[in-house]
Amino acid sequence: MHHTNFPGLAALVLTSACIANLSRADDASPSFRNDVMAVLSKSGCNQGTCHGNANGKGGLKLSLRGQNPESDYITLSRESAARRVTPLSPADSLLLQKPSMQIPHEGGRRFPPGSSEYKILQNWIANGLPKDDDTSAIVVSLKVTPSQKTLHFPENSVSLLATATFSDGSTRDVTSLTVFGSSATFVSITDTGVATADQPGLTTIVARYLNQQVPVRLEFVPERPDFEFKTPKATNFIDEAVFAQLKRLKTNPADVCDDSTFLRRVYLDLTGLLPTIEQAKAFIESPEPNKRSKLIDTLLASEEFNDFQTLRWADLLRVEEKTLDATGVEVYHNWIRTSVAEDKPLNTFVAELIAARGSTYKVPPTNFFRALRTPEERSEAAAQVFLGIRLQCAKCHNHPFDRWTQDDYYAWSNFFARVDYEIVENKRRDKSDKHEFSGEQIVKISEKGDVKNPTTNEIAGLRFLGSGNVNAPEDKTGGDPSPDRLEQLATWISDPENDRFSTTQANRIWAQLMGQGIVDPIDDFRSTNPPSNPELLNALRDEFVSHNFSTRHLIRVIMNSTTYQLSSTPNTTNAHNNGTFARTELRRLTAEQTLDAIAQLLNVSAEFGGHKSGTKAVQLKGVRNGGFRYSKPEIGDQFLTLFGKPDRLQTCECERTNETTLAQTFEMVSGELISQLLATSGNRIDQCLATDQSDTDTINQLFWAALSRSPNAQEIDALVKHVNQQEDKRDAFEDIVWTLLNSNEFLLRR
């Protein structure tokens, strides 16, 4: 018994009274840390929406998700004149009366009187609010069985058992104290750990007991008694991994898509552009059996591929003018593009970014650090882009859904603490704007400087994320050893043995082509967000590493798989294809793709500020952040912003948005850019009208330019009729082009 917070005599009396009243099983006092805190979590008391809110609720503030048992102990036992707990009469305690709704509680009834939760709290109060001391056992691990399971409908329910292991070696069934949550809405889970699915599908249950979290992967397979797996042709290891999972899930993949769909898909994915009429016809008409592989190879070797792949990295690496300035954007973009063009191994590419130092004009990768001005920005960006870890939460508190502690955060940030800038020149136009830099800078590493962990106020260690040992045990007051900490980091990150890096990058390349990561979001790797198909992810990573981190190679392998070439048309078994890649998910074209496709259809170009006429949207180097203060954005820039081109102020794919909005629809229906390009004299409509070809030929040509196919009979009928009904032929063809560029087939990548 611990009576540290209670007058000895009263406690003694009370304790003996309680022991007399309680059954033997209830005899042992609950542990505050292991039982009471678990009840508070299980009952939802310490959620952000309730008492875990930064301001608390109804005058009671608990630590968010129970991350600080010490302060919660004081809150519950001492604050508010200790009226929350009444050891002399436990049932009168607010801590029991409120959640059991014996007196009004805004949060409703969390548990009834007499429930196990109630008894734990009551018993703890009655025992005199014992506090755990240094010798008390603390939880060291949590195991949930089964850890994964495949269930076959009609069996749609599974009981999970949570067992905790404590520091004294003891183990205990903590199922009733464990919080269970499902990643999918079609699976519900009870207090007692029974997960039930309304429909087949995949889900991850996350079980949480105190600071331990464990994922449980569940597959619910539909009944489908007559199911027959139509074994499609597996082209490579990707198909083997995908089809094995689909077979297990009694799901047939979609058919392989037709040539026209494949053609558009490959062009959009590799170049961001539509095929020209000539390119489209040549491919469709070619009788060659391996023409798909050949097209992939041709496009991978094209300049357009270099443009489009560079755009992706330019987004992530914050290639924008305000901080890098125009010269910086130019040299940095060129460096990325050269790296893409020569297929520089991705680990080398990243190592060069991290270890770069020197002039931002002469050593282009130094712009990585020029864009990221503080150790925290650098470390968060590196974790997110290179390792798929969202570390941001751990800046202020231990990460609630992941293993990272605040200590990990600062020990990682410390790698970036000594990056320094020699500002050779700064001709910023706006003296008040600390983000604006115009002029050369030298990125260098200073001799000293470390980050401090603000909680301990001590200099942070130096530890690679996910590696247990503190590296580089140099004297913190002296300089870095040679090689310095960033060079060591570059070596560590690019090591082929570094699974985190290679897996993250392989998954990113997969998501770029498939529209969804195997781990998704692609920068959120954690045990509680497991891959939808681990075998597939591992195989992709191995392929990537064994081929020297070649982006082109991995793209080629993925695109040659049957899985990549599946159609988007669902069959009876794969309509709810969630993360299984059983068919192709439709997605809207990106901002640049949309604009370039419209311009290509009309055979005109849109204007972008700071670029020469005729530049394609996918070729734009920066985003002219800040530049628009001095010159209005051109019509093309406005369109791209509206459709989700990122400002490149965050190091996150999430900054680019592909959602459809009403404002975009207005732009497509009646907006300035569409109207202007339709009206531009000399555009494709005028070019067609200038010939003596028939209206049908013109319609045919517009279809090939827009959709890479001929119109069918019904379309021809309707459109010819439309042309004949209009007084003005140009008006009529404007209507037809409007129709094409607003069609689903045009706007969706399928």
């Binding site: 409703g108 969390r110 949550g181 704007d433 048309t569 969630n578 993360g579 009403l662 008006d731």
Partner: protein, 465 residues
């Protein structure tokens, strides 16, 4: 499901589920409904809803609190306003002599005189006032990036969207900036679908119309109808595609856009020329005045949140344009400028708007908010003007269930610091949500999936009846 699991389930509606449910194009249409459904238990204890709509009159530049509504008449001369006080419709309450019409409606206005924060620069302070959230640093050129908090109206669109034909959130007629665009005017990490319908056009312009609702001159509604029919024919060819969730999502947006273009209700809502000439005159033939009238018209038609920006720039040096940033620079003088421009405009709009709402029986269900990003220094500066002062200033709230004539919080004798009942911008945000019947502790997720309460503060419930 018990409560906590329901919460967990709501929190777990991730992107994959959304795709499964509606496809990318449907996100905008399904998300709010889903959240509504799953959030239901959370808002079970939400405050009783009074305000159906909010009109937020944002006073860019920072009006002087001590020369308008919190005059310190007993302060030493170097602090004291140079304007005379006049009595108001609330016994014992005095306001600035240049607000005589406003004085007549003070019994309809609640004041919070202790709003405070720590941001001294326009952009960081503006962001704080527009979102209720303070940025990490007081940055004069705070960059408008997706890690910053969304505008009030965007949050409303996310957690309690309109279900009628009209947009939830409309803002006009300026995008405010000071060197760079002021953050807090759009949806940020909530996604572009929650951006305001922004009207860049001048409602005082004789040919004012909503640019989104106006077709190019050579495209009639009939011609648009023809195009739409052709579009349907082409879409129907790829039948499987047309039936996909993604295509249906796109289609839903086309339906909505075209129905808005065709809708008399929608066109009327924005058609300010339908207002009687006398009323238009009463609001004042200014961009801001007609903007206030448009706000009332929109709210009446069913828009939930309208933000009217007083000016595009922080201003302060001109008697004919700009905001409230009256430092006295370049030999301009605050005491000369305000009575020529800012105060008369205010006096011709705020009381007219409140009376107009009242006459129509709408005041009780419309919360009107009037404040800027900060107040101004209690001590008069060398240029006989005042500089930035975020440590204590006044916000006006009227209607929406607030108690007219009430005053919450008290500043010290200089108007420099809260003496009693300090109110943060987070509290101010919570108060607004409270008025709308939205639980201010509802959480939204940022781009890193971090749950953030929509307001970091507590509602000032004392000003509500």
């Amino acid at each position: 499901m018990i409560f906590s699991q329901k919460l967990a389930a709501a929190a777990a509606i991730n992107r994959r589920d959304m795709l499964r449910i509606g496809g990318p194009g449907m996100l905008g249409l399904t998300l709010p409904k889903l959240l509504q459904a799953e959030d239901a238990p959370v808002v079970a204890h939400a405050p009783k809803r009074k305000a159906k709509s909010v009109i937020f009159l944002f006073q860019w530049g920072g009006p002087s609190h001590v020369d308008t509504f919190d005059m310190k008449l007993n302060a030493p001369e170097e602090y004291r306003t140079k304007y005379a006080p006049i009595s108001t419709s609330v016994p014992g309450m005095h306001i600035c002599e240049h607000l005589p019409e406003t004085a007549k409606v003070m019994h309809k206005i609640a004041q919070i005189r202790t709003v405070h924060h720590t941001m001294n620069n326009h952009n960081s302070a503006g962001y704080t006032a527009l979102t209720g959230v303070q940025p990490a640093i007081d940055d004069q050129r705070l960059r408008d990036s997706l890690d910053l908090f969304p505008a009030f109206g965007s949050v409303v669109d996310k957690v309690a969207p309109n279900t009628n034909q009209l947009p939830t959130f409309v803002s006009f007629p300026h995008t405010i900036s000071d060197g760079s665009t002021t953050p807090g005017q759009r949806a940020s990490f909530l996604g572009k679908i929650h951006d305001p319908l922004f009207i860049p056009n001048d409602p005082n312009d004789a040919n004012f119309e909503l640019s989104q609702l106006s077709l190019p001159s050579d495209v009639s509604l009939g011609r648009l109808g023809n195009r739409r029919e052709l579009q349907k024919i082409i879409n129907s060819q790829a039948r499987q595609l047309d039936q996909s969730a993604a295509a249906q999502g796109l289609n839903a947006y086309y339906e909505k856009a075209i129905s808005m273009l065709n809708s008399k209700q929608v066109r009327d809502a924005f058609d300010i020329s339908k207002e009687p000439t006398e009323l238009r005159d009463a609001y004042g033939r200014t961009t801001y005045g007609q903007g206030c009238l448009l706000a009332r018209r929109l709210v009446e038609s069913g828009v939930k949140f309208v933000t009217v920006y007083f000016s595009r720039s922080i201003g302060g040096r001109s008697k004919t344009e700009g905001g409230w940033d009256t430092h006295g620079f370049d030999d301009t003088r605050m005491y000369e400028i305000l009575p020529e421009f800012h105060l008369p405009i205010t006096d011709h709009t705020l009381p007219v708007l409140l009376n107009d709402l009242d006459t129509r029986g709408m005041l009780d269900e419309t919360l009107v908010m009037w404040f800027g990003e900060f107040g101004r220094t209690p001590k008069i500066n060398k240029s006989i003007s005042r500089d930035h002062w975020p440590k204590c200033y006044t916000a006006l709230l009227a209607g929406g269930g607030t108690i007219g004539g009430s005053v919450y919080g008290e500043s010290d004798k200089y108007g420099a610091f809260p003496d009693r009942d300090p109110v943060t911008t987070g509290d101010l945000a919570a108060t607004m949500y409270h008025a709308m019947g939205i639980d201010h502790s509802i959480e939204v997720k940022d781009n890193f999936n971090r749950p953030l309460p929509i307001a970091n503060g507590r509602p000032v419930t004392d000003i509500f009846a």
